[in-house]
Amino acid sequence: MTAQEQVLMEGSEAIALAAIAAGCRFFAGYPMTPFTEVLEHFAKHLPGVGGTCINAESELEAVGMAWGALATGARAATGSTGQGLSLMQESFSEITLAELPLVIFNMARGQQDYFQATRGGGHGDYRHIVLAPMDISEAVELTQLAFHLADRWRNPVLVYGDYLTAHTRQAVTIDRIDFGGVPDKTWALDGSTTGTRASKLVSPLGFGKHGHPNPGIEQHLRKISAKHREIEQTEVRVESGYLDDAETVIVAFGTPAKFVRYVVQQLRAEGERVGYVRPISLWPFPYAAVTEAAQTARTVAVFELCAGQMIDDVRLGALGTAPVVGIGGISTDGSGFGVGPLLDAEHVRARILAVHRGGAGAELPRLPDNERTTG
């Protein structure tokens, strides 16, 4: 593909090609809807650049294989949908403690995996940087950013997409994006230091080799925790609009945020004082942006396609200065894998208008049911 050439492409292929453009040379995964096509495209494209894609026996092995590839210094990734990522959580925790730059793709079933992505289902004091693209062209950028940030911080980065990210098409350009340098991987091993009295150890356990610095698990965990505080200070990414005089501020991430932004633009054109905040990094969460927006807003509304998860972070950001109310909800197609009827500009508009007119206590329109329920 030549520079600047735009190609109409499915999101899952765009993500795989963006990862390869970023230097990813190893991928292992296990098929699961709606993530499967990401695995398919890695399988198709990686061998051509000298890379490897393994269809692992389960998600547990997929993440283990990526772990081994990462330890050699390669850029490597895995992924699944949230259900499959649940199986990988133990490894995610330990890979974070081993300070390996894993990139993870979640093509989620809606937005039910916000807690999993930002709080984690694994054990211990670990954090992953989480990036949530709103569409395919942003997914191309954030996929490449994910590899950069993973290497910069020696910390896993998760890209949170969904059925629409993976399965719709958009005209995109896939060129390698230069985000600047990353530290040399002096920790990566290839066997060449075996027998030199300076052999390497990639371990989550905080111990060192005999005769070498051996901080112990307590100091090791404190070091990683301090790194996470630093990431919180430097890697917040957020987009917002129309906040200056907004009476109602809607917070949304990922694909639904694009719907929210569209509706807010429409309502603004009609003279309604509404604005939006779109967290691009879910961790670190843009608390400051929410805090500022809540200072002047009458109501902060959270539109998310789940029972209400990000709303906890929005409340922490609002600090009680404005009421925070959820205006999204559970909405899936009949299979549970895809997109529910709530993700429709008319429904989004009706729910935003309900809180904009009636405030935090307003009664919301009834959630639309999917075709299976309505029959």
Partner: protein
């Protein structure tokens, strides 16, 4: 298969050796210290020595990467002078797979216990073998979870007493042990499968040969190789330290029978291996009766 005769070279202790040797003279090059963190009577350091010496003797040390599971042997990670990745309990074979795919010219091996490999990570080792992944998995099999204090594993033999089979493993209640070597030998991707032991000097020497053979096959791109080693765990077996080798031989060794289960495409049954071992034993005894052994069989 019962024997009280040592299966190895007989050292004449009635005369002084030509030159005195110190412990340091016998320390493998790839050990950072002579200390280890194991209990008295543990068999695992013997396996450590075996594979470290094998790497040096094959001149592949400086392209070798180890992946450790979680068990007592995890502490070897501090003392092995080998590039090393610490994996999760059970997950070493897939980590080794990722390493090998990125570094096809390296020698990659896992070190796992029976709890790690045969309990927690059984599907990992099976699929790695089935893929014919060009790595070596080394199993330290003592039939118990040594690190947690002597609990039953998938390889604990019938009748063996552990902390959660106090009256001995009962097939009806606890199920049967898994003979992992036999299981793996039947997979097309497995090029070499062997079971050694460290209950006496002869067995240690034979085990080291198996490990060397496995590394050679890997070096030559031959596919998945597997060496299981029966090891003593007197602490986890609740027996006197000095009784460890005999208990290993008579208890685990009777079920997990030592020998090459698959070599050159040929699979051998437990019965064949048993018969081979009996024959080997008779040969050694007759050679001993005829005046001693120059080197082990």
């Amino acid at each position: 298969m019962s024997t009280s005769v040592p299966l190895g070279p007989v050292i004449d202790t009635t005369v002084a050796p030509d030159a005195a040797r110190k412990v340091g003279d016998l320390t493998p090059d790839l050990l950072l210290t002579q200390e280890h963190h194991m209990c008295p009577g543990c068999g695992e350091p013997l396996v450590l020595r075996s594979f470290l010496e094998a790497l040096t003797e094959l001149d592949v040390a400086q392209r070798s990467v180890a992946v450790l599971g979680i068990g007592c042997y995890t502490s070897f990670g501090m003392t092995m002078d080998v590039d090393l990745i610490q994996a999760l309990h059970g997950r070493a074979p897939s980590v080794a797979t990722g390493v090998k795919r990125m570094l096809p010219d390296s020698i990659v091996f896992t070190l796992q216990g029976d709890g790690d490999m045969v309990n927690e990570g059984l599907q990992e080792v099976i699929h790695t073998a089935a893929r014919g992944e060009n790595v070596t998995c080394i199993l330290l099999n003592n039939g118990v979870f040594g690190e947690t204090g002597g609990h039953m594993t998938a390889t604990t033999v019938i009748g063996q007493r552990t902390k959660n089979s106090l009256e001995g493993r009962d097939a009806e209640y606890h199920g049967y042990p898994i003979l992992i070597g036999d299981l793996l030998a039947r997979l097309d991707g497995a090029a070499y499968v062997a079971r050694g032991s460290v209950h006496n000097a002869g067995a240690v020497a034979r085990t080291k040969k198996m490990i060397k053979r496995a590394f050679e096959i890997q070096r030559d791109g031959g596919g998945f190789t597997f060496v299981e080693v029966l090891t003593m765990c007197p602490t986890g077996w609740f027996i006197p330290t000095v009784d460890g080798p005999e208990y290993l031989h008579d208890t685990l060794g009777e079920v997990h029978v030592m020998g090459e289960l698959k070599e050159g495409g040929r699979i051998k049954s437990t019965e064949e291996l048993y018969a081979e071992n009996v024959k080997r034993q008779h040969e050694i005894e007759s050679r001993l009766a005829a005046g001693g052994l120059e080197e082990e069989a």
